[in-house]
Amino acid sequence: MEVYVYRDLGKPFNEWFDWVIREAELYDYGRYPAKGMGIWLPYGFKLRKNVIELIRKLLDSTGHEEILLPLLIPYNIIIKESEHIRGFEGQLYWVTHGGYEQLDIKLALRPTSETSLSYMEALWIKSYKQLPKKFYQVGSIFRYETKATRPLLRVREVTTFKEAHTVHEDFKDCERQVKEAMDIYSRFFNELGVPYVVSKRPEWDKFAGAIYTIAFDTLLPDGKALQIGTVHNLGQNFSRVFEVRIQRKDESIDYAWQTSYGISERIIASIVAVHGDSKGLVLPFKVAPIQVIIIPIPAGSDEEKKAVMEHAIKLKNDLISRGLRAETDLREDVTPGEKFYIWELKGVPLRIDLG
């Protein structure tokens, strides 16, 4: 018998996880004919959107600015920082052709964006007066994972990679930024009720190209650790090779100092895994696509049944106008008991039984 970290799931965690993301209609995985790539279904997409909005708010309110970089990184750019390319080369997808023509310079699908952004920062940033600069983007990254892929946990297209990249005048300000990033991530995970431990990764497991890496790890119900966030102090490793030079306050010229930090859809997997139970999802109210589900319990004459349905619609509209994400299930070919089962499986935090 499996020992669960959190709640009794009624079946082994791996089985439960596949079952719940499928049956709750979050994510279709394993059927698309490219390994390690899944589809966010409408209900899952809404959950994802609410989670992204939460991190956007935290980043926007701390002076981060959202951008969007190209998905493709030219060969000569991605190989520039030697440790970085050594760490990632085994996981890169390459675009080698355009139509019938072989490309002069092959293009990598970004595995992360330190190289492409540093290349541009060399053009954008000239002076300490522009610093600190805090960018972030939310998008897909690609990593050719050779280990067994798992939905949301280990995928080849990470669809929800939030990566932040910052630029600073000196090492001290980099250190301050690392602390700010840790604080933002702690607040984010706290809002979602996902527990974590913060560790300085050992030398041999830091991000390829960083001075050091701080990582947030949670535990899934089977007791295995899952990395859900990382913060890297990049020092001048990338700014040197990409020549991101800045004029400092004392008028000397130096390479800029950088940090980067990222989270992915693994946090959504964690919300599912950490709070769920044998009946299915249990979503936090803050990010649930539907916060309140109204189930009409019709009884008596047709007239009375109609009145309950109308009441349900009116109540739903009232609640929506008061800022709640409310929904009602008016289907007549599904019994209230079946509706309870479905909406519990979907993890809606509050249900109203309307008689």
């Binding site: 527990p195 560790s199 109203i352």
Partner: protein, 121 residues
Amino acid sequence: VTVVRRDSGEKIEVKVSELPEILKKLGEEVDSELSKRAWEAFRKKIRRVNDLNQAKDYLSKERGIIEIPWCGRSECALKASEILEADALGTPLDEVPNVGNEHCPICGERAVTIMRYAKKY
């Protein structure tokens, strides 16, 4: 009407006129309850162990995160990682762990911090 909480199954009778306020309040309660419950369960699975056999036993049966006194040398953590068949997650940052009289179970030297190990995704 009856409001039912997904997290606890608890049923609450509420007047329709009071619904919006009460639902918002219940929503906050659900979130703080989910968080509290998850953190309590999580903390129980972080164990401080001095003995490698005991650590190995925990990691194979109940898993979770094991903290072991460490001398600070890479080769000792790599060796422990191999013995435990688990990954070294890293060392704590803020709180300096109290390892006063403890020793690295690999080399026997005085420990300077702890190293965390877990089976990893």
